[in-house]
């Protein structure tokens, strides 16, 4: 196309912080596109319900599953729907220590959410910083940083996380760190891709000609324009962090049963499946699956909505 002013370049040249009104309008447009898919609506509702259920667990469930004083060995291995010594019905049964499974699952889900969300957020910050730095400065810095990122992306995340956990040991902070190391590269790649395109545009050149500090141009001018694709990556990576953590805990190198996540619950229940006590591992697994699939469905729909090829 010749050097005419395309509508696209006109849109991009809007100042980096649009007035509140257009932002609200954009949000409304986004929402009306999003709700075209009832599957995506259902997935969103499921996620909200799971978040409320897990973070509100202390107020919702009959038992604090990790207060050892409240556990009764007489209640061990009660099948789902039996009334225990506490005088209430164990909807999903009890485990080998007499824990109410529903309570344990909601507490475990909370741990999984905390790990998934904080690992996702930290990986986002690290990835954005690496990707923006590479795209903004270019040259040797870019070559070095993106080479490391590419190398990491060629290795499966589960392997990197395994290596990190092997080095750092068990515990929530260690797991989060391992997940960030394993996942930041996805954000860095996406940021770098979008930012190298934006970097060449006139508004960045214009900003660079002013005495604004470099970090300000990077984070206030460049960053807002590369955010949309990152939202999709962030959604998918939170789901993948939750499932990676569950996998590590299942393998026995993640969280111990004293700090349970869904993975450690499943791992504990796995020991009893040959005895026909399916509820110890099936139910935490069902919650894990629903959580991961719902987050992925929401991510898919966001991708569809913000993809410029689909805009009307």
């Amino acid at each position: 196309m010749p050097d005419t002013l395309t509508p696209e370049s006109g849109v991009i040249a809007v100042p980096s912080a649009p007035p509140a009104e257009t932002r609200a309008m954009r949000l409304r447009n986004f929402w009306s596109d999003y709700r075209q898919s009832w599957v995506a609506i259902a997935a969103l509702i499921v996620i909200v319900a799971l978040l409320v259920g897990s973070f509100g667990a202390p107020f919702l469930v009959p038992q604090d599953p990790y207060d050892l004083a409240k556990l009764d060995w007489m209640d061990a291995f009660l099948p789902p729907g039996t009334e225990g010594s506490g005088g209430y019905v164990h909807l999903l049964g009890t485990d080998n220590a007499g824990r109410d499974m529903l309570s344990a699952i909601l507490y475990g889900l909370r741990t999984s959410f905390v790990i998934g969300l904080s690992a996702g957020a930290l990986a986002l910050v690290v990835g954005i910083t690496v990707g923006l730095t590479a795209a903004y400065f270019g040259g040797r810095i870019e070559a070095l940083l993106m080479r490391i990122v590419d190398l990491q992306l060629s290795m499966p995340a589960i392997l990197l996380a395994l290596v990190m956990v092997a080095m750092l040991g068990q515990g929530i902070p260690q797991i989060i760190f391992a997940l960030v190391v394993a996942q930041y590269a996805y954000f860095a790649r996406t940021t770098h891709g979008a930012a190298s395109v934006e970097r060449r545009k006139d508004y960045i050149e214009a900003a660079r000609s002013t005495p604004l500090p470099t970090w300000r141009i990077m984070f206030k001018h460049l960053l807002p324009n590369v955010l949309p694709p990152l939202i999709v990556v962030a959604t998918v990576q939170v789901a993948s962090a939750i499932s990676l953590e569950a996998t590590l805990s299942f393998l026995g190198v993640g969280l111990p049963l004293t700090e349970p996540s869904l993975g450690s619950l499943i791992s504990n229940g796995f020991k009893y499946i040959h005895a026909g006590r399916y509820w110890l591992s099936i139910y935490p697994g069902v919650f894990l699956m629903i959580t991961v699939v719902a987050i992925n469905l929401v991510g898919d729909q966001i991708r569809t909505v913000i993809d410029p090829r689909n805009s009307r």
Partner: protein, 324 residues
């Protein structure tokens, strides 16, 4: 091309060196393996001797150089738990992993490619939607959970298949494999299916995307205009055209199948290298950990190198940009 080759090779060497240092230091920073190995009641003298025997009294950098020196002589050290050399330990476990990976890759290809072709050929049919939904599940549901469901269904409830372990092995050509016995097959089939699901999902998506694109291409319309039957267009024209990207990604993914085998082998108690690495992490068997990790790094760097070189061979622009 030669300059590019040298540049990439030296980069690969630097990466392997850096990673081996990180892994070595990282692994040696955790715990004290001597405590795991010996009886807490052992005398201080036995302790001292053992520490000296494994060279743990030396400074870390000297331990590292001893390790590297030994690696170049083909010696990866002694396992602290099994008390045999790491090399023979890994090689004794490798056939089990390789046969598992081989069967699962075959399943993924045999099921995934036709399913993807169909989903691309009739993208709006119910069958295609079902196939795509299943591929999303294969991607997003954790491998270990599906493996557990398989065990519950086919081993515990139905009792059709054994729940884990490797079956009888028999001599086939010059090596022992469980694929030569029917008992072996009954053991391998469930873990192989479990391991294949992720790859199958990937193959379905790749083949479908290629198929959808090809269906609108000029050469397909031309073949249609000639009056060729659809069967012939799909299998001799389209399949040939989309096979190149499919094979490339498939080859690249072989390495990651090896990594996912860690999970599947643990679920099904399969005695391969994946189970070995998990056990060595849990038992703090440092020489096994370090050797396995360094081997994996070398494997992935090699795969990357080969891909880069093939691309450079195919696309002159890549090699002209140089080995930056």
């Amino acid at each position: 091309m030669f300059g590019y080759l040298v540049g990439r090779l030296s980069q690969a060497v630097v990466v392997v060196f850096a990673m081996s240092v990180i892994v070595f230091v990282g692994v040696y920073a955790i715990g004290n393996p001597i405590d795991v190995m010996i009886d807490p009641g052992a005398t201080a003298e036995i302790r001292e001797n053992l520490i000296r025997q494994y060279g743990l009294d030396q400074p870390l950098w000297r331990q590292y150089f001893t390790f590297v020196g030994n690696v170049f002589q083909g010696d990866l050290g002694q396992s602290m738990v099994y008390n045999i050399s790491v090399t023979s330990l890994v090689f004794s476990r490798l056939p089990a992993t390789l046969e598992l990976v081989l069967v699962s890759v075959t399943i993924a290809a045999v099921v995934g490619i036709p399913a993807g072709l169909y989903a691309g050929y009739r993208p709006n049919s119910i069958g295609a939607k079902l196939i795509m939904a299943l591929s999303v599940l294969g991607f997003s549901v954790p491998t270990f959970w599906i493996g557990m469901l398989l065990i519950m269904a086919f081993a515990v409830e139905l009792g059709w298949l054994p729940s884990g372990g490797r079956g009888e092995v028999a001599e086939f050509l010059w090596f022992k494999t469980s694929l030569a016995t029917s008992n072996g097959w009954s053991h391998v089939i469930m873990p192989a299916i479990n391991l294949s699901l992720f790859k199958m999902g990937l193959l379905i998506r790749l083949t479908r995307a290629g198929m959808v694109e090809a269906m609108g291409a000029e050469y397909v319309r031309f073949a249609r205009a000639q009056g060729l039957p659809d069967r012939q267009i799909v299998f001799s024209h389209i399949l040939r055209n989309i096979s190149i990207p499919v094979i490339t990604v498939f080859g690249l993914e072989l390495g990651s199948t090896l990594a996912f085998a860690v999970v599947t082998e643990t679920v099904f108690n399969w005695p391969g290298v994946g189970k070995l690495i998990i056990d060595s992490i849990l038992q703090l068997d440092r020489p096994v950990m370090v050797s396995y990790l360094v081997m994996v790094v070398i494997l992935f760097v090699l795969i990357n190198l080969i891909v880069d070189l093939i691309y450079a061979r195919l696309d002159p622009r890549v090699r002209l940009k140089g080995g930056s």
